[in-house]
């Protein structure tokens, strides 16, 4: 009796994609942390556990302020993660999230500092500019058959140079604060354009950058989830991702859908930048044209870790944000904060094998189920 229940349960779990995906991601995380521990030990073996790994995986919860930092950084990460994940679901690789994020940052900050618009309009501007920058690789892919990865990489850099050029404006731009060499702080220059906190910052050690941004991000995650899994539109987009030719045959306009997918992905990344800069987590430095915003690339990590599931992205983003904050709390005496980036990158490298892990897990579960069934057969 008992055996029978167990066997069907094992098989049910094995065939449930969600469980296997989560298990595969957890394996990636554990292996990534283990490799991170090895890296810490190589640098300084005495302190690897207590002052290294434990700091990384506990600091995020140590104080309300740390928790606030985790939330403030997770909100934009959820958005870029959604952006990349959405594109993945429709068969596209949006490596351009960094560029769309850059344009989004420009849209939000320009509306805030120059026009002093309320925050939701600034966020809308971020969304529109991000969508525009996302649409470009989509158009190149749909009508000229150029791989979206190449276009997106090019437009990442074009966007960065363009935005920095305008924001810096040879030092005379209205957005550029000479005294800080960054864009003007919204707290002074445009307090009305800041995303409201609704008293949340009081719970997180008066950290001003904790705003309702995290709820906006979660809201978007739910919307994306519903669109992808519960609407015809989402189904059509996914169909193009699974098999372009079959979708075409079924009467789906694949060109239009490629452009739409990339546009939506771009819009999501743009909103991410809006959430980050309108929450005043940091200011933009327009004089650094050598590196794209890391948030865009971390979005790839968040999406991969969540197997592109919009709701999973919430958790993967919180996790990545959590260990990144943990990394900044490492004692500089022994380690540098980039160790956390190394761990994240290792986890993502391992995620590239997640298919392998998934097959192994499935095989293990099925094998167990079958063994139990065989045993049961003998009893009868």
């Amino acid at each position: 009796m008992d055996n029978k229940n167990k066997s069907s349960f094992g098989e049910r779990i094995a065939s449930s994609g969600a469980f296997v995906s989560v298990a595969a991601s957890l394996i990636c995380i554990v292996l990534g942390l283990a490799l991170g521990l090895i890296a810490l030990a190589i640098i300084n073996v005495e302190h690897a556990w207590n002052d290294g790994l434990m700091v990384i995986i506990t600091s995020g919860l140590k104080s309300p302020r740390n928790m606030g930092t985790v939330l403030a950084n997770a909100a934009p990460l959820i958005m870029t993660g959604l952006s990349v994940g959405f594109a993945f679901k429709t068969g596209l690789f949006n490596i351009g999230a960094a560029g769309q994020y850059t344009l989004g940052a420009f849209g939000a900050l320009y509306c805030a500092i120059v026009w002093q618009l309320p925050w939701y309009l600034c966020l809308l501007a971020a969304m529109v500019l991000g969508a525009l920058w996302g649409a470009i690789p989509g158009l190149f892919k749909a009508y000229l058959n150029i791989n979206e990865v190449i276009t997106a990489i090019m437009f990442n850099w074009i966007g960065l140079y363009l935005v920095n050029d305008i924001m810096y404006g040879k030092g005379k731009s209205p957005m550029y604060d000479i005294s800080t060499t960054k864009t003007f702080s919204l707290r002074k220059a445009a307090p009305d354009s800041m995303i409201p906190s609704w008293g949340m910052s009081d719970y997180f050690g008066k950290l001003q950058s904790v705003t309702i941004a995290i709820f906006i991000a979660i809201f978007f995650a739910i919307v994306v989830y519903v669109v992808l899994s519960r609407t015809t539109f989402g189904y059509e987009l996914k169909a193009c991702g699974f098999n372009k030719h079959a979708a075409q045959y079924a009467g789906i306009n694949d060109k239009r859908n490629i452009v739409l997918s990339m546009t939506i992905a771009g819009a999501l990344a743009g909103v991410g930048a809006g959430l980050y800069y309108l929450s005043t987590v940091a200011e933009w430095n327009p004089q650094v044209s050598t590196a794209l915003p890391a948030m865009g690339f971390n979005g790839i990590s968040a999406a991969l870790l969540a197997c592109s599931n919009p709701l999973g992205t919430i958790f993967s983003s919180l996790f990545i944000s959590y260990i990144t904050v943990g990394g900044t709390k490492l004692s500089t005496q022994y380690y540098t904060k980039e160790i956390a980036d190394v761990i994240t990158a290792l986890i993502i490298y391992l995620c590239a094998f997640s298919l392998l892990f998934k097959n192994k897990i499935r095989a293990a579960l099925m094998g167990k189920a079958r063994r139990i069934q065989v045993g049961k057969g003998g009893d009868d």
Binding site: F93, Y161, Y168, T336, V342, A352, F353
Partner: protein
């Protein structure tokens, strides 16, 4: 004018080396988007090698061993991509992206650890690499690069290895059916790209300045090289000319402010930096219909689906 020539030569060599690396990888069927990361790792290894050279080592020793180190480091790093995409059938673009992210973080950790301080800036002497020929300063990578260009052409088109490599990038099933080991060929392609990428990363960092902050990685040079490779249509000498074209604009960005005639145009550094990217997009748009990309690139080889 000499300044423009100097920078153009410098960047041409860098972009050409890395793009040739990309070419070997893609011609064997593996998309190598990790070139940026490979450059960072190669550059870091080269810089550290220079620092570790014993006092009074001859210029030749320094140059030879540091370039060797950079090449080997690049190769080892590229092996991670090869392992993921050839043995485990992982998505090549994702694997490459992960390696890019890992490279910058890893380089900073190593640089800081090497420095023993909170700065990822490494100082080194580049005297052994630079020669003055009349009024022109050239670096040793120019000769290395030209040699590798000729060698690449020779290997790719005139040897058995090259023919087999190309076959694996076009139609691996057919290659396999005549007894070519596709996995081995693809490994060869990726590892060569690692060596060239590593040396390219060093060529980017060493000659122009005598200290490098690894916080910036190689600031997109690897991606630019990817554009050069496409622009060069995966062919060695075309890649060479594409590299010159891209390098010229990149140099203009560096020196525009110091040339009076160009400074009066009022263009900013950012605008010059943008031009090669925009140019490659325009050219891609016009040539996409007759693009000569290797047919099987990006598709994991599955023996069973033959």
């Amino acid at each position: 004018m000499f300044l423009l020539l100097k920078y153009t030569l410098l960047y041409t060599v860098v972009l050409m080396l890395v793009a040739l690396g990309g070419m070997f990888s893609e011609r064997s069927g593996i998309i190598n988007i990790a070139l940026e990361g490979i450059m960072v790792i190669g550059g870091l290894a080269g810089v550290i090698a220079i620092q570790l050279m014993p006092e009074g080592a001859s210029a030749f020793t320094i140059v030879f061993f540091s370039i060797l180190t950079a090449g080997i480091a690049g190769m080892v790093y590229a092996a991670l991509l090869a392992f993921a995409s050839i043995n485990l059938n992982a998505d090549q673009t994702i694997g490459g992206t992960a390696l890019n992210m890992l490279a910058t973080a890893l380089a900073m950790v190593i640089a800081k650890g090497f420095n023993g301080s909170a700065s990822a800036k490494l100082d080194y002497s580049n005297r052994a690499f630079i020669y003055d020929i009349g009024p022109l300063t050239v670096n040793v990578f120019l000769f290395v690069g030209l040699a590798i260009l000729v060698l690449s052409y020779f290997v790719l088109y005139k040897t058995r290895l090259g023919l087999r490599l190309r076959a694996c990038g076009e139609h691996p099933q057919a290659a396999d059916s005549v007894g070519i080991n596709v996995y081995k060929m693809r490994y060869t392609g990726v590892l060569i790209s690692g060596v060239l990428g590593g040396i390219g990363g060093m060529a980017y960092i060493i000659p122009s300045v005598s200290s490098w902050n690894f916080e910036v990685g190689v600031s997109g040079a690897g991606f630019l090289a990817l554009a050069v490779m496409i622009f060069g249509q995966w062919k060695p000498f075309r890649i060479f000319f594409a590299a010159i074209f891209f390098a010229m604009f990149k140099s203009l960005a560096n020196i525009a402010s110091s040339i009076p005639m160009m400074a009066s145009l009022g263009w900013t550094q950012n605008m010059y930096n943008m031009i090669p990217f925009i140019a490659s997009m325009i050219i891609l748009a016009f040539t996409s219909k007759k693009s000569r990309a290797p047919k099987a690139e990006g598709i994991p080889y599955d023996k069973g689906s033959r």
